[in-house]
């Protein structure tokens, strides 16, 4: 870009936005809508992932050792077999005495357990896995180990979260692709209107010796400004919406067990993503629109 032409490019780019005010407004509005929908699904997916991660931290499969096996071989003998099950990342042996102490420790009045023996409980393993989605495989694998009497796993809750996470991920990704294409199309048409309006001017430019870059710059700037505007507005709308929904969810005690990702932790990456997508849509749409006018 020649320095002496910068003023001209900016003036032409900005004036084109106002000349086709309605289409400019429409393309910014569509960009904002697409980015907000995209952002909302991404934030939802992020929060579900965070909830699933919390769930994984708290959720363990408990594998109880058969009492007879414990008496003959000792419960700890099964540790290598437990660890060899696919998807198992670690396993913590909990003896029946430790389990008893832990159980009793949950109560203030321990006197009521004085006549109880730890023998009523069984040795057990707290088994952790790589992904809660593999909980069924782990359960089956553990059940095949001779000496494991019973397995306790919260299958329904785990699978529910995993299914939700998978659906949201697929929907988010599909929406991102579809909405980017829609935005690109609208932006391209907005800039194309300007190129049609200035068709004669472009022909004159070419005849007096304008280079392709000279012709292209005002249109690229128009797309750049619209894309930038769309991205910044979308970011503000997304911020407001997220704060609003967070406040509503957090004030509802029935879902108080859910911890949401604070907006501050995603603010910068989200702004960067919005800017990148907005500018790509703006500049990409302009490039598509002007392409045919740069031949010959």
């Amino acid at each position: 870009m020649k320095k002496s032409n910068t003023g001209y490019y900016i003036k032409e780019g900005v004036s084109s936005i106002f000349t086709h005010g309605f289409m400019s407004f429409a393309s910014v509005a569509i960009t904002v809508a697409c980015l907000v929908i995209m952002g909302s699904f991404s934030l939802l997916a992020m929060n579900v992932n965070s909830i699933v991660a919390d769930f994984e931290d708290e959720n363990v499969v408990i594998a109880f050792v058969d009492k007879a096996y414990s008496q003959e071989n000792g419960g700890e003998a099964l540790k290598s077999s437990v660890l060899s099950v696919e998807h198992v990342t670690s396993a913590e042996f909990i003896s029946k005495e430790e389990a008893y102490q832990s159980f009793v420790g949950k109560y203030d009045d321990t006197m009521q357990f004085d006549d109880l023996d730890s023998d009523i409980l069984r040795d057990r393993y707290a088994v952790y896995m790589d992904d809660v989605a593999n909980i069924t495989d782990v359960q089956v694998g553990l059940s095949r180990i001779p000496g494991i009497a019973e397995i306790k796993a919260n299958l329904n809750v785990a699978q529910g979260f995993v299914t939700a996470r998978n659906i949201i991920s697929v929907v988010s990704l599909s929406l991102v692709v579809v909405l980017i294409i829609v935005s690109l199309f609208i932006m391209s048409n907005t800039v194309k209107l300007t190129t049609i309006d200035r068709k004669d001017e472009i022909a004159i430019m070419r005849m007096v010796g304008a280079t392709n870059s000279f012709i292209r710059w005002p249109f690229l700037l128009q797309g750049f400004i619209l894309g930038l505007l769309g991205a910044l507005l979308a970011y503000l709308v997304q911020w407001g919406l997220y704060e609003l929904l967070t406040n509503i969810i957090l004030s509802d005690y029935s879902v108080s067990f859910i911890s949401l990702v604070p907006f501050a932790t995603v603010a910068l990456p989200l702004l960067l993503i919005f800017l990148i997508i907005g500018l790509c849509v703006g500049v990409g749409g302009s490039t598509m629109a002007i392409k045919n006018y740069l031949k010959v």
Partner: protein, 229 residues
């Protein structure tokens, strides 16, 4: 200098527009290009401006070989040419001054040079007092003068005009051709495509005549002589 050497042009639909055209227009020359509709005049003009390429033969335009030129070099050829059209092709929303300045801005001329050169060229074509007017406030002849000023402003070595008097009455046509002759006397090569027999005969200048894609006459004997051939 413009040089055509055995140039043929056949379009994709099979129409043979030019069949072995050869001529040379030297620097500083003035020539009319005449011929009936469909004779190949427009094709010849498009070959000079690089809008199309020849099927065979070679074309030299102000030092550029047009039959071998790369797309990205075309703007630089066009900067050596000043092109004037029958329909003026002015930008309605710009003033006379802005229309002329626009041609300089497009080639990256600095503002200081634009401020100096545009008034000089407008004075040359007799429109110094109309600089702030818009094209729709001017007569046809004045609009064509603006187009000529725009073609001249970048100091091209050649002016090519495609039917520049086609939309004007005889008196205004004569004025425009007189202006072209004046520009030629200042050192610019001029090639004018026209149908105006009377006008061509008024000027004792070279006439290149084409018909059916062939060059049928090239000399100083006027349009009348071409019709006799």
């Amino acid at each position: 200098m413009i040089q055509f050497n055995d140039v043929y042009k056949e379009y994709a639909n099979g129409i043979k527009a030019l069949k072995g055209i050869s001529f040379t227009l030297r620097d500083g020359e003035f020539a009319f290009l005449v011929g009936p509709s469909g004779s190949g005049k427009s094709t010849l003009m498009k070959l000079i401006t690089g809008e199309i390429s020849p099927s065979s033969g070679s074309i030299l335009v102000n030092g550029y070989m047009m039959d071998k030129i790369r797309m990205r070099k075309l703007p630089y050829v066009r900067r050596t040419l000043g092109i004037v059209f029958q329909d003026f092709r002015l930008i309605e929303k710009k003033t006379v001054y802005e229309n002329v300045a626009f041609a300089m801005r497009v080639v990256g001329a600095p503002n200081r040079e634009i401020r100096k050169r545009v008034p000089y060229v407008l004075d040359l074509v007799g429109l110094a007092d109309k600089a702030t007017m818009h094209p729709n406030e001017l007569s046809g002849g004045e609009q064509q003068r603006v187009a000529i000023a725009r073609a001249l402003v970048n100091n091209p070595s050649t002016i090519i005009a495609d039917e520049p008097t086609g939309n004007l009455d005889p008196a205004r046509s004569l004025e425009i051709l007189m202006l072209m002759q004046k520009i030629n006397e200042l050192g610019t090569t001029v090639l004018i495509v026209t149908h105006e027999k009377a006008m061509v005969d008024e000027f004792s200048q070279r006439v290149i005549a084409i018909d059916g894609g062939h060059l049928i006459s090239d000399g100083m004997d006027g349009y009348y002589n071409y019709e006799e051939v």
